[in-house]
Symmetry: D2
Subunit: 375 residues, 4 copies
Amino acid sequence: MKRLKLGMVGGGYGAFIGGVHRIASRIDDRFELVAGALSSNADRAAKSAADLGIAPDRSYSDYSIMAKTEADRSDGIDVVSIVTPNHMHAAPVIAFLRAGVSVICDKPLCATLAEADEIARVVNSSSAHFVLTHNYTGYPLVRQARRMIANGELGVIRVAQIEYAQDWLAKSIENDGQKQAAWRTDPAKSGGGGAIGDIGTHAFNLLGFVTGLKTEALSADLHSFGEGRKVDDNAHILLRMQGGAKAMLWASQIAIGNENRVRLRIYGEKGGLEWDQENPNVMSLTAHGEARRILTCGGAGLGDSASDWTRIPSGHPEGYLEGFANIYSGVADLIEGKNKGELLPGIDEGLQGMLFIDTCLRSAENNGEWLSFAL
Amino acid sequence: MKRLKLGMVGGGYGAFIGGVHRIASRIDDRFELVAGALSSNADRAAKSAADLGIAPDRSYSDYSIMAKTEADRSDGIDVVSIVTPNHMHAAPVIAFLRAGVSVICDKPLCATLAEADEIARVVNSSSAHFVLTHNYTGYPLVRQARRMIANGELGVIRVAQIEYAQDWLAKSIENDGQKQAAWRTDPAKSGGGGAIGDIGTHAFNLLGFVTGLKTEALSADLHSFGEGRKVDDNAHILLRMQGGAKAMLWASQIAIGNENRVRLRIYGEKGGLEWDQENPNVMSLTAHGEARRILTCGGAGLGDSASDWTRIPSGHPEGYLEGFANIYSGVADLIEGKNKGELLPGIDEGLQGMLFIDTCLRSAENNGEWLSFAL
Amino acid sequence: MKRLKLGMVGGGYGAFIGGVHRIASRIDDRFELVAGALSSNADRAAKSAADLGIAPDRSYSDYSIMAKTEADRSDGIDVVSIVTPNHMHAAPVIAFLRAGVSVICDKPLCATLAEADEIARVVNSSSAHFVLTHNYTGYPLVRQARRMIANGELGVIRVAQIEYAQDWLAKSIENDGQKQAAWRTDPAKSGGGGAIGDIGTHAFNLLGFVTGLKTEALSADLHSFGEGRKVDDNAHILLRMQGGAKAMLWASQIAIGNENRVRLRIYGEKGGLEWDQENPNVMSLTAHGEARRILTCGGAGLGDSASDWTRIPSGHPEGYLEGFANIYSGVADLIEGKNKGELLPGIDEGLQGMLFIDTCLRSAENNGEWLSFAL
Amino acid sequence: MKRLKLGMVGGGYGAFIGGVHRIASRIDDRFELVAGALSSNADRAAKSAADLGIAPDRSYSDYSIMAKTEADRSDGIDVVSIVTPNHMHAAPVIAFLRAGVSVICDKPLCATLAEADEIARVVNSSSAHFVLTHNYTGYPLVRQARRMIANGELGVIRVAQIEYAQDWLAKSIENDGQKQAAWRTDPAKSGGGGAIGDIGTHAFNLLGFVTGLKTEALSADLHSFGEGRKVDDNAHILLRMQGGAKAMLWASQIAIGNENRVRLRIYGEKGGLEWDQENPNVMSLTAHGEARRILTCGGAGLGDSASDWTRIPSGHPEGYLEGFANIYSGVADLIEGKNKGELLPGIDEGLQGMLFIDTCLRSAENNGEWLSFAL
């Protein structure tokens, strides 16, 4: 067994998503964290690195030096995770790709469409891999849903109801020094979108991932309810999809009582399915004219099975971290050449997410005008 | 005890909603069905009447004769229920009101805005009462939700997600002689709207009933998925409400796996609540910063209580028929002068429903243009 | 149409179950309440009768006079409902049966085994009908479960977990003048059993009704947690059934958070099913090696169908009152000779319930000794 | 940061629980697997070790040599996980403890009471630590429940309903070569108990862990439904606890439709709580006279909080593996002297589990005689 060597940019003290990436990388034991530019503050970077067992000479405070140095080492990193705020994705992503290091990048891709285009150019001219952590696609039953739909079990898709509702921004806690809230509600750091960027892009990505359909047009009504807030915290979006399907997408960070409610409901001419991230090991599937069936991860009657992506038997719940780990293990497979990463979100999904944010903002500015959506 | 004398127009053999009205009228024992024009076919009318214990001389095949005759009898009916298809509401409603008989009318009000206006004029010039059976407002916890919001328990309302999803029209069963489907999908009988008229008006009515807010504008995307179907069977609607609240309304009759899923989710600055008609005796209420609470009909911790509208203790589920009966008992209270029918949907709700259908149709024809909505 | 003439003993002001019986009798419009001995206090009886529209000459304060008088009238009652406390069942039941009037009796049958034997003798020598309102057997999906098991869909039954949990007696409210609690916790009126009589008999009856199996032996651990309470308020019972099935039965009136939680879980060699009275329109059915299916009243995929006992389409929830009404409509069918009342609980079920109470009390007194149970 | 050095006995190819232990050990990055006797077959041991990145010189086929060798190395293991079948726990546990190596042992403790006593003697005379992986105690909300009860939030405990239901042994798959089933249903390897040992001990342990109460007596009805099966596959057990509480415990491996349903319901004089392992991030808590509250891991309103044992925010579900990891992280804290392992199951819990099995078997052999239960 050989573990891949992993680096990380961002993710020092007080960060949330960096820790998630690290746990995800360990669950299946295919990565070893050996280098990091965990903070742009050298002292913080060094202390965070020491805490994580990174050797002092592989703790950096400058990602570009890290990219160059690691690329030059014979035991340099195979892949780097970029877990900085949105506006600090583009530069390190490009630096590492140019250095030939594969990149795992947190979503959304970056802060502006211009940055996105530049990243795309670099990705497309690089032999290194690029994966975007739309981690909800790592849930076994989300993948199962995609497979069932691709197999035609729902028939032609007609309607999709996609939601991502939270309540942690119901009050304007960004004004009270909450760090996670502060950068997410600062247009300069988030990239202009609020809820649509932070969570709406996840919902939008899931819609495409599960249905296999592209969006053709959308109409958005965005609003900011938090006092003094500069970005949207509630988004009501209508979508028209390839093949005539219609979708509603709701993203909200002010819906009190919702912690992290990602919910998919997809209806085709032959059946419907429903899935809820807060209880992710069950999925409801109804074939027309039959009783509703409750599918479980690895459980009976699943046919072609979600157990490809589970570690323990049905009834032993796996969760968010294991779904995230499925992305990491997919990256390991991809780098090791075991498959082509068909299930992994990449640069196309990143571009679509950026375009989604941009189109929503423009539609909302034009009173919900339907805008076509094409990459 | 004196029971009110009830008549019925429509509701003969093979009808669905007429039977519901009759059960609802009996549950609290305040009505006695004594007259009917149950069918325009005299023979069918007579047989249906006999089955229901209506005396032969009070079985009519012509509602206008019934209105006149009953008004002239010293023991004539106090109130009549109109349970015909939409396009046959206006004429009997007007006839009975003009005869001084109070009217309980099934929803939606009628088939066209012109008819609606005429009905409204008659209602407003009549001393008889007019009640529209938006029966979902009769559910105890729906009324509880309205009361809580009126009391400010959720604070200023921000977002409402309203749904009414069914699947019985997933296939075009109207082509196979299914009577209920046939008139509902025939624009001449339904009034132009399909799902928006049949169930969307219920959802729209609930939105206003529970939040106490008027709609100011809406944008609609309507679609017909059933093969050869002439009216919408899926409606995606965005709404802007008084005071800045935003709403999404989804009405569908092709969402496989949904039998009769009416779902309300209302979020304010202080809390959120969620209710689902298919399990109607529980409601979830979350105050900001507190754990979710599960309120039950008549259950502990309800404060100002839904038990005003229940018959049996908490844990003994009441359902659709009892909710419908709450409308009927409200009518009895109103006619007997016990209250002013504050909770009962009336002509205003009827007009708003008709305007809702019309505005949705116009918006959809104009590619989802936001149209203002004002009575 | 001809309605059966119904009388009632008990059920005056302040009673709970009498009102339930009356609503149940009205829902399907096959009964007309025309006589009553609603209270043994003549004044209260008369006032209650007037409120219910009973003619003054058919309001009685003495059930034996009522039995005799009504039997003598050419328009006398066809059937009487006995809704008094347990210790006042036997005498009126016997009086009416002897007068040739059919009887609907609330459960449990009576207060003592001796009374039960006497009632049984009278029932067996009478041409009048006797039905016991184990009303939970009236729920469509409970009947569906019985039918499925009888059809062998679960195979040989192995294990049953039956529960009836409430919390309204968590405090000793009988000491504060709560009338419903007072007689139920007074051994002289309840018949010795507390929770086992009041609700345990329902659970025990359901076990037999649904599985079709007789109990062969039981071991009981009864306890009284309420301060100063003289009867059990929590019962833990193990049962051994015909054919080798094992069951656990839990009845509690002190389980805080449970309003009226009747829950059945039945497992056979081929499948398992689960049903919960607080959300009674769904039932879970799992065939071995297949995904769990959610059956709904009248819904898709039910095969041989619960819709025999529903009034409205699936997704329109019916509840406790409609289930109770199914018992009443069954009585109407029975009296009118439309069937033989195969689904209706009768004197055998009454005797078994009394024996259940007695056997539990004796087993508990003997430290849970397993006692054989045979009628 | 320094990781503890971990060894493992058992857990080679085809094993289930060994892999779970390894993932659990990695999640919080406090262990490094460096040695193993993964199989008693040297070849299999070596191959499994290589796959796991264990150096060849630290792969053993004999646990006693491993214990001695590792104890002698300056970089020897700090702790070893014993993940063999039940009848092969005692010898390696004793060998490692005698060598001064701390032990994490899978449950149940061992196969016989005699072995249990010997292990206990060694544990009590050793300075090394001993922890038993009753991993369900690692779920945050289970610990929260324990804390709430210890704080008196439910008042004096009255009733507990504990269940652990599975269905994977509904058919006698042990006869078809299913390895996991084979040893579990072989009395020589399982230790005499079937479901009571494999899963009943978990349920019994949870009962004590959450309520903080010792069991004083029990009565058991055990049965084997699988054709030709020699150990129980369904257990119905009544318990009497310290302070007068009563409990029902149901353990079954033949309850079709239950995958791994561990359910706790605890009722005290002041409130009740309910938790279900298959959706482990929510817990229901009802205070007397108040509405049911839904507590979530790390969620609002939890007061003294389960977030002590979570890694990610509420709404991001953690599962079985993270609960298991909480046991491992607890071991790391214990070995590093950060606390005294108050929450960790140890030798006492192991002995109680063995006594539970033995007492159940004896009670069942004596027709459910109540037997006192005291360590």
